[in-house]
């Protein structure tokens, strides 16, 4: 295109100066000035229980030190009927680059809805989890720059939670924090959900110490843990705040709550 319009003197002819100007570009590629990613901040978290899974995320969207908006949900219902996902039993949370997150959600939602049309039954969480991994892996060389967490109930009605890295590695877990404040929230969860570094009182000293066994927590307790995790993260991370959106997936449906967080 640039060949069509050139202010340089005719190629090969006499130049306009006795010391000939260089007519070729210096070797080496010129640097691209466009970076296709940004970080929209925020944090997400998921915890699974005996008969429920809770996913949570703050609603702040940032760009550098600026707040884009105080309400941009990071939690999305997947499947169900229509654009408001009526009757859905799977929730996806995405944090990282919001535009990729939106595109990823749109793709997974379409796939899960198509599955129901084609097979006449809703997609299981484990199948949906594997499919999400494949979507991410398919874009391995131009990844969706997001940390995804998928939640639902498994075939036995137990809480199911899957977490992903941007290129599709995934794992089923009891709990996971992702995003900007993941490093602040995850150690708290390790201690309070998986009881890491907790021991049975009076079980002895040194090697005799018995680790406290992790067990599924009751729902109100988990909700409290989520709220505590976020109110604390807001204090120490500038990209987290404004509002806390929670989705609780149970056998009778998805319950959604919103709790205000500090807006500073």
């Amino acid at each position: 295109m640039s060949a069509m319009f050139s202010l340089a003197p005719p190629q090969g002819g006499p130049g306009y100066s006795f010391n000939q100007t260089p007519t070729t570009a210096p070797s080496g590629q010129r640097q691209h000035g466009f970076y296709p990613y940004t970080d929209n901040g925020g944090s997400t978290l998921g915890i699974s229980g005996a008969d429920f899974t809770i996913l949570a995320g703050d609603t702040r969207s940032t760009n550098g030190y600026s707040i884009n908006t105080r309400y941009a949900p990071k939690l999305f219902k997947i499947g169900g009927e229509g654009s408001d996902n009526k009757g859905a039993r799977i929730v996806l949370s995405v944090v990282g680059f919001a535009a990729d997150g939106e595109a990823l959600k749109e793709r997974l939602d379409t796939i899960v809805k198509m599955y129901k049309y084609q097979h006449g039954k809703p997609m299981s969480v484990s199948a949906c989890a594997q499919r999400l991994s494949h979507i991410l892996y398919n874009k391995r060389f131009f990844p969706y720059y997001v940390h995804a967490i998928l939640g639902g109930l498994d075939e036995d009605g137990k809480g199911a939670l899957y977490s992903y890295d941007p290129v599709g590695s995934y794992e089923r877990e009891q709990c996971r924090a992702a995003g900007a404040a993941a490093s602040l929230i995850m150690p708290f969860l390790d201690n309070q959900v998986n009881f890491k570094n907790q021991y049975v009182p009076g079980s002895g000293t040194g090697h005799d110490l018995k680790a406290r066994e992790a067990q599924p927590l009751p729902q109100p307790h988990v909700e409290d843990l989520v709220r505590d995790a976020f109110t604390s993260a807001v204090e120490r991370h500038i990209e987290v705040g404004d509002g806390l959106q929670m989705m609780i997936i149970k056998a009778d449906g998805i319950h959604e709550t919103f709790t205000p967080l500090k807006k500073d």
């Binding site: 050139s6 100066s17 007519t23 600026s66």
Partner: protein, 260 residues
């Protein structure tokens, strides 16, 4: 002096050095937009109880040069949507043509309802995201203002990366730092929208345009403003900033030749 006519009227190499032709590559890979060239500055918008107000000045800058002073950066799409463009002006003109063809397509189709602001925002966001995914971005930050399917005020943004978000007040570019805090004083959240009428919203936006003109060096005192309500779009493209007061200027110290 040089006898070759090609050299007449050109900077002399002896004086200025040889021209660096890497700026005018004649071969090599296809070039995509890597930086905006002629640019428009901030677009600002605010919701109010019956609709949305949106404004942008009429300047297109070429770097620090105020190159075109009569460029309309608000585009009425139909009777309920206005799009405001910040960023590259040639990409804005491309999007303008794209919206024209979309409008024609829609008018020939048999569908009853015309596209509302929410529909148009989804469309433009997908265009922007697709182009960024091709590493060939449209270097713009758009604000889409209008009414949604329930005739409620709608305001959302889409940028060159395909990032989208919505808020009671929005501002692009310099405005996100200068105007947004002022706008948020009146409209901190969605609930506040019901308490703001058209007059208050227009006054607020005009005040922000004034602040932007005071402090944004790539801005102009001539601007466009559009008010979108159920009654249609009221678009004024040749507004002039009113009641400017530069009284504060003499209190500013430290930039000029004053001693203290």
């Amino acid at each position: 002096m040089n006898h070759l006519p090609q050299a007449w009227g050109r900077p002399r190499d002896e004086v200025y050095g040889a021209y660096d032709h890497s700026h005018l590559q004649t071969s090599g890979p296809t070039q995509h937009t890597q930086q905006p060239i002629v640019t428009g500055t901030s677009v600002i918008a605010a919701k109010f109880k019956d609709g949305v107000v949106i404004a942008a000045d009429n300047l297109a800058s070429y770097g620090s040069l105020a190159r075109f002073t009569d460029v309309k950066r608000l585009r009425k799409f139909n009777s309920e949507v206005v799009v405001g463009f910040g960023g590259d002006v040639s990409d804005m003109q491309y999007l303008d043509r794209l919206l024209n063809s979309l409008d024609i397509q829609e008018n020939y189709s048999s569908s009853e309802d015309s596209l509302n602001a929410k529909n148009l925002h989804t469309y433009l966001a997908k265009v922007m995201y697709k182009r960024r995914s091709e590493f060939n971005p449209l270097w713009n930050h758009l604000l889409i203002a209008g009414l949604d399917a329930d005739a409620k005020p709608f305001l959302a943004s889409a940028d060159l990366l395909g990032t989208t978000f919505s808020a009671p007040t929005l501002a692009t570019g310099f405005g996100s730092a200068l105007a947004q805090p002022i706008l948020r004083r009146t409209l901190p959240d969605e609930e506040a929208v019901a308490g703001v009428d058209k007059e208050a919203a227009v006054k607020l936006i005009k005040e922000c345009m004034k602040v932007l003109f005071y402090r944004d060096a790539r801005s102009l005192d001539k601007y466009s403003i559009a008010i979108i309500t159920k009654d249609g779009v009221e678009l004024k493209e040749n507004e002039k900033l009113e009641n400017q007061s530069w009284a504060f200027a003499e209190t500013i110290r430290g930039y000029g030749t004053q001693v203290n």
